[in-house]
Symmetry: C2
Subunit: 196 residues, 2 copies
DNA sequence: TATGACTACTCACTTTCTTGAGTATCATGG
DNA sequence: CCATGATACTCAAGAAAGTGAGTAGTCATA
């Protein structure tokens, strides 16, 4: 039930509409969580019913009206409580890992294709994060921003996101190099005969 | 529906019982996926019904009998197909990120406590992975293993797991340092009054 | 003038994940 | 001799997450 808290956290520094949230959570700009629009609208409804956020209708000319949501004091209290409780250890849960785990039994070219995809994706995201970080800190240095800038939460999660994507990148390149090298020289020494 | 494939991948290099799988997936030794015992038993049943794995009863003295599962050719084909399809971009989905995202509105000491927990956890896992890697490669060097050793899949995923945990570690320490420094000097310069 | 793209959102449904409880046997230690 | 813990699983229920399809108006492009 963390989507709930992720939404609260996303509304903290600015009131937003469901649609805006949807954009952010879908594009992965919200580097700390991911969700589909439908989930967000549903969650916002629940949060509003529970009094954790409050929405106000904004009438717009030339486009549909929208509802902007803000976190209430109850919502803040909920977040506080959530933070006070132990976080569950994060686990990597990743399609690509499963595929690589099966590397010995599966077509190497396919695998390299998947890794290449991932590298491209990681590179794009890394650039996006770098851009976001620059935007957040404006003209000051990173050290300066980390000490005095605001909001610091999004900056820190963005840093993690960036490191994560760089990790994807490095690992992906390494894995491809390894798989290629093994492809060129399929069997040597101890790898003779069998496998499965 | 990737648990399905994760189970197949885990059965590749050795036949295993549901119980063994459960241990591995629960402890996070299976660094590429995570699942509860009940899920695994359920999944194994489904896989067997679909003919993707086959189980054989092993009668044991002094303890309950168990069923060991192997991947069938159909199962291998399924994995192959799975690998051929594009992987969905992995996303960080992590309680702790949500908490840090809310850093500006939430108690800093709580947050530091959560980060400290995570660091401890990451350190343990990193050591576990290092140990696993050493065990897998035996007395040879990493380069040597990467080129000639087997199975290579688990080694590669383990490398990713290790890098990931090191990333957690570094980031966690950085974040704590930042939060502490800001706590000591809560408002300076540009941070007065307003924010963002 | 219709085609697609963007804003803004809703409904209904399915799959997946998580939780809690329960069964049964054997080995170990106090 | 009784408690604890490991092995080896099953059943049932619920919460969370994900999917597909649909509505409806506006705007720019072709």
């Amino acid at each position: 039930m963390t989507l709930r808290h992720a939404v609260l956290a996303a509304l903290l520094d600015e009131e937003r509409s469901g649609y805006q949230l949807a954009k952010a959570f879908d594009m992965g700009v919200a580097n700390f969580w991911y969700a589909k629009p439908q989930q967000l609208y549903a969650e916002l409804t629940r949060l509003e019913q529970g009094g954790l956020v409050s929405g106000r209708e904004v009438v717009q000319a030339g486009r549909p009206n929208k509802r902007l949501f803000t976190v209430t004091d109850t919502g803040l209290a909920e977040l506080e409580e959530f933070t006070a409780a132990a976080a569950k250890p994060s686990v990597l849960r990743d399609d690509l890992m499963v595929k690589v785990q099966a590397a010995d039994s599966v077509d190497t070219d396919h695998l390299i294709a998947r890794l290449t995809e991932r590298i491209g994706f990681a590179r794009t995201k890394a650039e996006l994060f770098e851009h976001l970080l620059r935007t957040m800190r404006g003209d000051r240095s990173e050290e300066d921003f980390l000490l005095h800038g605001r909001p610091i939460g999004p900056y820190l999660t963005c840093l993690r996101g960036l490191a994560f994507e760089r990790g994807n990148l490095d690992w992906g390149e390494r894995a491809i190099a390894v798989l290629r090298a093994r492809q060129d020289r399929p069997k040597t020494r101890d790898a003779e005969g069998d496998d499965r």
